[in-house]
Amino acid sequence: MDFVLETNDLTKHYKTTKALERLTMHVEKGAIYGFVGRNGAGKTTLIRLICGLQAPTGGSFSLYGCSGSSRDIHRARRRMGAVVETPSIYLSMTAEQNLRQQYQILGLPSYEGVGELLELVGLQDTGRKKAKNFSLGMRQRLGIAVALAGDPDFLILDEPANGLDPQGIVEIRELILRLNRERQITVLISSHILDELSRLATHYGFIDSGHMVQEISAEELDARCRKRIHLTVTSTRPLTAVLDKMGMEYSICSDTEADVYGPVQVTELTLALHAAGCEIRSIHEQNESLESYFMNLVGGGGHA
């Protein structure tokens, strides 16, 4: 598998706190990777390490296969763009001047792409208006445009929906999807707005107290969160025979437990199982959202 970013036991300790503790993660090429965790879980710390703003205390990471401790990491970073916490823009400059500034930092030979980038983020009509007079959403979009200036193929967005109104959130979401689909840009988004993230992400990484709790693809997560009946029976052998006969989709969890998907006629199933000599010990309906999945995973007691 082709990974844009891999971390291996990545650790970052500050004087009194352990922000990251042996974190291992894999961001696949072409993915929209939702990096989920509570406030203070270590999401921004990881992004700072990847961007070279801070040095890890232990472990390693690689960007496009280039180790974070190698001299060439600076070259690898040229292939990525990032918006860390707040948009990094000069408030006394216009949107166009901000992009020109970034073009110069990158050493691009001409300003040819500036107009196209402004159009892409919907800021083409801002003219001489300075960034300090922009709305939060406009600043966020300008921050993304600045991050896109070097035509990166990996984009890191730290809480891009923070503080945005519903309209702004939709705009940012559509922009991210467009970048991923039309430009094949791999995106790493850290967020605690899980509902929003579930509309975008193709992969998830759940982080808690600096640890990676689980990495999972959106398909897998959908399957796990799917509406189902969880049955505990005396034996799953007669259960499978009955379910096959009824033409139902199911998965066996253990010798005595199984999940049954789709609409279930409980009375009909109970009678069929009774006839097959199988008793139902418990029956639960399960329908998890990303939010409840995350809370179950990290044990609740805080806000994602």
């Binding site: 961007c51 970034q102 930092i105």
Partner: protein
């Protein structure tokens, strides 16, 4: 690094603080020179241009500090320093590019003083010590400006909070206070005056050693300290009393190298947000 410099100059050209400092120094230099010369002419004094021309050199550090503090703090306050590092530039390049930008701005602000002061030429004539004397003093001014740039870049890049902006400006005043104190100590005469005023009129007595006069190793130390402080050099330029230009320039080089190497080492380890 060339890209970073280009980007920094692009921003400097649009920086309000830079143009404010440049404009204020130009205006003050021209206006003060005009009034000094006019007063001179009205009193019939035959002062030379250099007696007034170098007065502004003391204030240059303040404007350099103001520019450096605001310019560098914006990198942290607006988070734009992240763009430079994420774009693949090394911390060394980022630091040096900022130092060179602050230096260039400081030299341009100095140029505003040099141009503004020329208002006095048509009024009281050119420099009495000729162009060579002028170049000699300006060279020291360039040297102390380089020192200022190194000190203020060090502070501006390593201390990223808002109060640090004020601290950069306060550093200038601290340097000024330090230099004035050293200058006062060094300017004590070796002997008390041999002429005293009494009720019977002026009387001559044998001059006595001044207890506040500093000599020997301590004097040498204070002289070097005065040269190490860019404000100390500014006082000497203003008073047209640069005793050892080579030592002053060597001190500038030492201060610049020490602060830049120290800044590079500390910035390389600094956790940025």
């Amino acid at each position: 690094m060339r890209n970073l410099l280009r980007a920094n100059f692009f921003r400097m050209r649009r920086d309000e603080m830079f143009w404010t400092c440049f404009g204020v120094v130009l205006a003050c230099s021209a206006v003060f020179m005009f009034f000094w010369c006019r007063e001179d002419l009205s009193l019939g004094l035959a002062a030379k241009l250099e007696e007034y021309y170098f007065n502004m050199v003391m204030a240059l550090g303040l404007f350099d500090a103001m520019f450096a503090a605001m310019f560098l703090n914006a990198e942290y306050a607006e988070g734009t320093i992240r763009n430079k590092l994420t774009a693949g530039h090394t911390r060394r390049e980022v630091y040096l590019a900022h130092f060179l930008t602050v230096l260039a701005a400081s030299l341009l602000i100095m140029t505003a003083w040099l141009i503004g002061g020329c208002v006095g030429i048509p009024m009281i004539g050119s420099w009495g010590f000729g162009l060579a004397g002028w170049a000699h003093h300006v060279l020291i001014a360039v040297g102390l400006t380089v020192s200022f740039a190194a000190i203020f870049t060090f502070q501006g890049i390593l201390f990223s909070s808002r109060p640090a902006t004020v601290a950069v400006v306060l550093t200038y005043f601290a340097l000024l206070l330090g230099a004035s104190t050293v200058e006062n100590i060094l300017s004590e005469p070796e002997f008390s005056s041999g002429v005293v005023m009494t009720v019977d009129g002026v009387r001559t007595i044998n001059p006595e050693p001044n207890p506040r006069y500093v000599s020997g190793t301590l004097r040498t130390f204070l002289e070097v300290l005065r040269d190490l402080l860019p404000t100390g050099q500014a006082i000497q330029v203003q008073n047209l009393s640069v005793l050892s230009p080579l030592r002053a320039l060597a001190c500038d080089l030492g201060v610049t190298v020490a602060f830049t190497l120290g800044g590079l080492a500390l910035f390389g380890r600094k956790d940025l947000r």
